[in-house]
């Protein structure tokens, strides 16, 4: 029974990792850009929510609703004014610029909020749980997992059912030809990053309520997100969820055996998948 419990906790943790990864997956799918600052942007959003909570005395959920449009704007401006300049056949400039951004964000947060770890005030929801067939499931992890599924359903709907989604797919396939059809790729890219920042805000909300965070933990979140994306296969959002779940389960199982092995077990699961299926479990895009 304790193993089933551990695995279910891992699956639910995977929901959080899928939320970390969905934004990364979205941006990569549309413009082949890997944002090395993705993890730090999650932490940045978490501090933004924390700031709103402590300044305005809001609940974290309300604060996240206010933070979302701000992050949307940050994403838009970042893509429009910085990242669009370095997109091109050469992968070096975008990698180095986002790496620089990661270092800048991390140290700006350190300067602004110190290295002390913080947590979003959660009230009763943090400890609330439901009984389900003999298992005790936390409400917050369940909510996180449900949000991850909603986000993925939502993004898939956006991609395949809306005009914007068509523009996304067209730009992803061939930005120049899409341009000839009246689509402006630089705006499409900016919109995509802005939407990714909405997902980042949601991820930050659950991250901040679930555990302590400090300015230095961004890169580790980037790595989990990246592992989820690779395990799932590039371009498949449902695959990303599966990837997140695999990392989550591996981590909780590792931690159950020896607390020091938690992170290591997640990485090893990733390496094993990479060894067996280098293109991930559900590959869609060819890159």
């Amino acid at each position: 029974m304790i193993w089933i419990d551990t695995i279910i906790q891992g699956v639910l943790l995977g929901g959080l990792y899928a939320l970390f990864a969905a934004g990364l997956s979205l941006v990569f799918g549309i413009m082949r850009l890997v944002n090395l600052a993705h993890g730090d942007l999650i932490i940045f959003a978490a501090y933004l929510i924390l700031l709103l909570v402590s300044l305005l005395g809001l609940s974290p959920f309300l604060a996240a609703i206010i933070a979302a449009p701000i992050m949307f704007g940050v994403g838009w401006a970042l893509q429009r004014h910085v990242l669009n300049r370095v997109l091109g056949p050469d992968i070096l400039p975008p990698l180095l610029v986002t790496f620089g951004l990661s270092v800048v964000l991390q140290n700006a947060l350190l300067e602004g909020f110190s290295a002390d770890s913080q947590r979003l005030p959660t009230g009763e929801i943090a400890t609330a749980s439901v009984q389900l067939g003999g298992l005790n499931l936390g409400v917050l992890p369940l909510l996180t997992f449900a949000s991850a599924i909603l986000v993925i359903v939502g993004l898939n709907q956006l991609f395949y059912r809306t005009e914007l989604g068509r523009a996304f797919r067209a730009t992803s396939d061939d930005a120049v030809t899409a341009g000839l059809m009246g689509i402006r790729p630089e705006r499409i890219f900016a919109t995509a990053t802005a939407i990714a920042m909405l997902v980042v805000t949601l991820a930050a909300l659950y991250l901040g309520m679930r555990a302590n965070f400090d300015p230095n933990i961004g890169p580790a979140r980037l790595i989990y997100a990246f592992e989820a994306v690779i395990i799932g296969g590039l371009g498949s959002l449902w695959g990303t969820l599966v990837g997140g779940v695999i990392i989550g389960v591996a981590q909780t199982l590792g931690a159950a055996i020896n607390p020091e092995w938690q992170i290591l077990a997640g990485h090893l699961a990733f390496l094993i998948v990479l060894l067996i299926k280098p293109r991930g479990l559900f590959p869609r895009a060819v890159d």
């Binding site: 992968i91 400039p93 180095l96 610029v97 790496f99 690779i230």
Partner: protein, 361 residues
């Protein structure tokens, strides 16, 4: 028939001759420096030299090989830990144990490359990072070498290190200062060997193949370059060089911990900024970059995280507005190349060229 002018392939320029002469003088000065310089300067130069070696190898990897790795700290850490293992477990002298560090880095680089080469471009970058993290976490489990908290070199080993006695007697200094001088000389040797080795590599047929792969993989393959083999070559050479440097750095530091030895900031972020600011894809770039880096560090040392923030911002600005770095700007304006690798055709012996038409008539 003899109308064809005679050409010869040349890479040297006038500037490269002067640069060579300056290098020889500089090397002589650096070798003799411990005789009249203070310990602080020697330590600063050790830092500059080791960062320069790391930067040159990362530049070889990313600038020439097109392999942007964010996981070079894996090899610094493995090299350093192998050196510690050799000293603590096998009772080796720290100086030869540095070689062990290089070999260990080379050995772990083989499976690492096997995994990382399955990933392309940006994913390769994060993949190398994951592998470095795995190594950090594994080493932290190695209780004999201190586990997560780390350990120090035993005092007997550092006291009886090769050549320190001779240095103590010659320069009339204490043990710790003698060790600084020894590691400084080793670092100097490593810098010279690295720059000379990379420069030699780039001027050989392999270097040409490397440049071709960097510029266009498909085109390079079509003229018979084995692109995959070039990637392996560059990756393994960089890993070994980085491992040697890591081991040397920790002979000087004496104390090690997994978090420090596998630090992405110290061994990869700094190195990337040095190369980017100085100019990626050139030998001169990292040299200029490490000087800028050191000056910035001295100026901003008291400001803690502001320093890294400024460094990151400069890196971004350089990448956006001068993607070829400071050296790129300089060589664009002046045409200066201190370590030229470009092959040019020059007319040989213009008199012959003038004479031949006459004989034809």
């Amino acid at each position: 028939m003899a109308d064809i002018p005679m050409y010869r392939v040349r890479t040297q320029t006038r500037a490269s001759y002067s640069a060579g002469a300056v290098c020889v003088v500089l090397i002589a000065v650096f070798i003799l420096l411990p005789a009249f310089a203070g310990r602080g300067l020697i330590q600063d130069l050790f830092f500059i030299f080791t960062m320069l070696v790391l930067a040159q190898f990362w530049n070889l990897l990313a600038g020439y090989g097109g392999l942007v790795s964010v996981g070079q700290q894996a090899f610094v850490g493995m090299g350093a830990y192998a050196m510690f293992g050799g000293v603590i477990l096998w009772g080796m002298d720290p100086v030869p144990a540095i070689l062990l560090g290089g070999v260990a880095a080379l050995i772990v680089a083989i499976p690492t490359a096997f995994f990382a080469f399955r990933l392309q471009g940006a994913y390769f970058a994060i993949g190398t990072w994951v592998i470095a993290e795995v190594m950090r976490l594994l080493v932290a489990q190695w209780k004999l070498l201190g586990g997560g908290t780390g350990t120090s070199l035993p005092r007997t080993a550092t006291r009886e290190m090769w050549a320190t006695e001779w240095i103590q007697a010659t320069f009339d200094v204490r043990g710790a200062a003698a060790r600084d001088i020894l590691t400084y000389w080793l670092a100097l040797g490593l810098v010279i060997a690295t720059i000379a080795g990379i420069y030699w590599l780039l001027r050989t047929k392999r270097g040409l193949a490397l440049a071709a792969v960097r510029d266009n993989v498909e085109a390079a393959k079509s003229v018979g370059v084995d692109a995959a083999r070039m990637k392996w070559l560059v990756y393994l050479v960089s890993a070994m060089g980085t491992g040697l440097t890591g081991a040397l750095i920790y002979v000087q530091k004496v104390r090690i911990s997994p978090d420090a030895a596998f630090s992405v900031t110290d061994w990869t972020a700094y190195v990337i900024f040095i190369v980017v600011i100085g100019g990626i894809g050139t030998i001169e770039g990292p040299i200029l970059g490490v000087l800028v880096f050191f000056i910035l560090q001295s100026l901003l040392a008291d400001y803690g995280s502001w320093y890294l923030m400024v460094l990151g911002l400069i890196g971004i600005v350089v990448m956006l507005f001068a993607p070829r770095g400071l050296w790129g700007l300089i060589s664009e304006k002046t045409g200066l190349q201190l370590f030229p690798v470009r092959r040019r055709l020059v007319l040989t012996n213009p008199q012959d060229g003038a004479n031949t038409p006459k004989t034809d008539k």
